[in-house]
């Protein structure tokens, strides 16, 4: 009899959610065919299983980078200042859905959505307010933006220029990972081919102009949130990574020109040891892919650096205070797994955007881990565990099998068209749900240990007036900007989009002429078309 969670019968087979059998006990025999030097090596040395830097948290903690943003640029700016004051060490910007999908706040489809899941940014004017008084030359800023990533990056660059900050000093990330949007997240705009063009344009542009910028955050977080298993999470993420590297090489770049500035983003889910093993497997896989498949020569191209977010999908609306405990354990797995950067979710995750109080507790969780738990004092502390090393090997093996399948299909673009990853993810999600409903998987407070729930109070609520305010700002902007300059910039960008010229300089000019995100993406929608979802 198979089951997914511990039972009273010790002869039952237990499998984790990746369908890997978990033995009652692991011994040296489980690792007898493995070589320390080849499979693990040392942190900072190929294949980086044990970490991408030799000293890891002994010399520097991961960046504490809480995702935040809501309503207007002014309100979000205040929250960033608050979080920095509370000890956050990097910023992470959440944009609202209209911004993420390239619509202005006055677009018909933006109604009801403005400022709800992140900050509303319509133009450079909003960006200037968003980043006001923030030390952009001293902290790194991550922006969760995908289809319109070139526009937001251009705005960031424009703000830096206005503040006299040399672009070589700018440190940050744009998510810019369109493939996972088609697979799991849904904020796509354009079809796959022009989207890949925009991404490779960014790789090239940043290699020359903004060398410290992470041009992409190849993401598994959302794939996992959509219901994937740990194996699927890294398999599909690294497969997407392969597709981006392929596209960049086809666009004429040398792998080591952009390789060092690729970054990744993973989920920290419930099963502590599976998660740690997953991160280690991902590092080893990527190192070998870059060196052996793509012939990278620069070690930096082989180092998988990643941000982690604790698993939002595991947090409950029931007894939300329990979520603080879940997040603490998930954060621990990310730290034991060697993450470079971490976001911890707030206890009200299933109910609303984080209240200030809930966001503070989430940040404190990281600080307690860093300063009080002692787990940072040695690198890769779980290495050598018969269990963790076995899991690392098995996860890697299963993930590589998925990558082979996708290769045989003709690559990620083909696989997306065939709905392959989407279906795999859906199947895993359905299985998980059935386990919960049959109580073979327990969620404390939901299908066991339930209470009569209080209605949650102190929830964050975005004032719908934000929409009206943004619309008025837009009207004013369009009335006061140099319209001739804006139109000329948009026309030049349109022309360039029809050739294979790098679009970034044109987008920077458009943004500096106060073209709105809706106007810029509107032109590109006309030129590139829109993606049609297959299901």
């Amino acid at each position: 009899m198979t089951t997914t969670r511990a039972t009273d019968n010790k002869d039952d087979i237990i499998k984790n959610s990746s369908e890997i059998e978990i033995k009652r006990i692991y011994t040296p025999d489980d690792l007898s065919d493995r070589s320390y030097q080849e499979d693990l090596s040392f942190p900072g040395e190929f294949p980086y299983t044990r970490g991408v830097q030799p000293t890891m948290y002994r010399s520097r903690f991961w960046t504490m980078r809480q995702y935040a943003g809501f309503a207007s640029a002014e309100e979000s700016n205040n929250r960033y200042k608050y979080l920095l004051k509370q000890g956050q060490t990097g910023l992470s910007i959440a944009f609202d859905l209209p911004t993420q999908i390239g619509y202005d706040s006055d677009h018909a489809l933006s109604q009801g959505e403005v400022g709800k899941v992140g900050v509303a940014i319509d133009s450079l004017e909003d960006m200037e307010i968003l980043l006001k008084d923030l030390p952009l030359d001293q902290i790194s800023v991550s922006m969760t933006i995908n289809s319109p990533a070139p526009v937001l990056l251009a705005m960031y660059i424009a703000v830096a220029k206005k503040n006299g900050i040399p672009l070589e000093k700018l440190s940050g990330t744009i998510q810019n990972d369109i493939l996972k949007e088609y697979i799991a997240r849904g904020t796509y705009i354009f079809p796959i081919t022009p989207s890949m063009r925009l991404i490779t344009d960014i790789f090239k542009y940043c290699a020359d102009e903004v060398p410290k910028w992470n041009t992409i955050s190849i993401s598994g977080y959302h794939i996992r949130e959509a219901g994937a298993t740990a194996v699927q999470e890294i398999a599909f993420t690294l497969a997407n990574g392969i597709a981006y590297v392929d596209a960049a090489i086809k666009a004429g770049l040398d792998v080591d020109d952009f390789g060092p500035r690729l970054s990744f983003f993973f989920n920290a889910h419930n099963d502590l040891f599976e998660e740690v093993a997953k991160f280690r497997a991902a590092r080893r896989m990527w190192a070998r892919i870059m060196r052996d498949r793509f012939h990278a020569k620069n070690p930096k191209s082989m180092m998988l650096r990643f941000h982690t977010q604790t698993a939002g999908c595991t947090l409950t609306a029931q007894q939300p205070e329990n979520n603080v405990v879940r997040v603490a354990m998930q954060a621990l797995s990310a730290v034991l797994g060697g993450t470079q950067s971490l976001h911890t979710n707030s206890r009200d995750e299933a109910l609303a955007l984080p209240s200030e109080q809930a966001a503070k507790i989430a940040l404190r969780t990281q600080q307690i881990l860093a300063y009080e738990s002692g787990v940072t004092e040695t690198v890769d502390p779980l290495a050598g565990s018969y269990y963790v090393e076995s899991l690392t090997n098995e996860i890697e093996e299963k993930a590589l099998a998925y990558i082979r399948t996708i290769d045989e299909m003709g690559g990620v673009q083909r696989a997306i068209e065939k709905n392959y990853m989407q279906q795999e993810i859906q199947d895993s999600a359905y299985t998980y749900q059935k386990e919960i409903e049959s109580a073979s998987r327990i969620v404390v407070g939901v299908n066991k240990f339930q209470v009569e729930e209080d209605v949650a109070s102190d929830l964050m609520y975005v004032d719908p007036k934000v929409e009206e305010i943004q619309q008025r700002k837009l009207a004013t902007l369009k009335g006061t900007r140099d319209q001739a300059k804006t139109s000329a910039a948009l026309a030049a960008m349109r022309e360039a989009s029809r050739t294979d010229e790098n679009l970034m300089p044109f987008i920077v000019k458009a943004v500096e002429a106060y073209a709105t995100i809706g106007e810029i993406c509107g032109v590109l929608r006309e030129e590139f078309g829109e993606y049609k979802q297959a299901f």
Partner: protein
């Protein structure tokens, strides 16, 4: 019942979180219902048109992006305009407790929040579909 219950499951607004909607769609199919899943970024007008064209008995709306107060009520409103108010409308997603009563008044018969089981949705539809 001469034919299976037919349900349209729709993602309203710009929200791309479709894990829940897809699970509900599949669970309803497993329970013997016919399901039309609309995919993402549907407008209230689209959804009502599909429901009428498909002769649906019920519409399930999903939103996790906070746009539910603005968008959900437009569906029963549109159904009334089209003389199709006998179609049962229910919704789910990330919807604060305090928004539920006003949504019900606007014609959304039930709101299913995080922690909902698929069986409760199936039961609700079977008991409330008016045919």
């Amino acid at each position: 019942m001469d034919r299976p219950i037919r349900v349209v499951i729709a993602k309203l607004g710009l929200d791309g979180h479709d894990r829940g909607a897809k699970i509900i769609a599949r669970a309803l199919r497993d329970a013997g219902m016919e399901v039309i899943y609309t995919g993402l970024r549907q407008t209230p007008e689209n959804i009502v048109e599909i429901a009428i064209q498909e002769d649906a008995d019920a519409i399930g709306l999903s939103s996790l992006s906070g746009a539910h107060n603005h968008l959900f009520p437009k569906v029963p409103e549109r159904l009334r305009e089209k003389g199709a108010e006998d179609i049962l409308v229910f919704g789910g997603g990330v919807i604060p407790e305090k928004d539920i009563a006003p949504l019900k008044e606007a014609g959304i018969a039930a709101i299913f929040t995080p922690g909902t089981t698929t069986t409760s949705v199936i039961e609700f539809i079977r008991e409330n579909v008016g045919r």
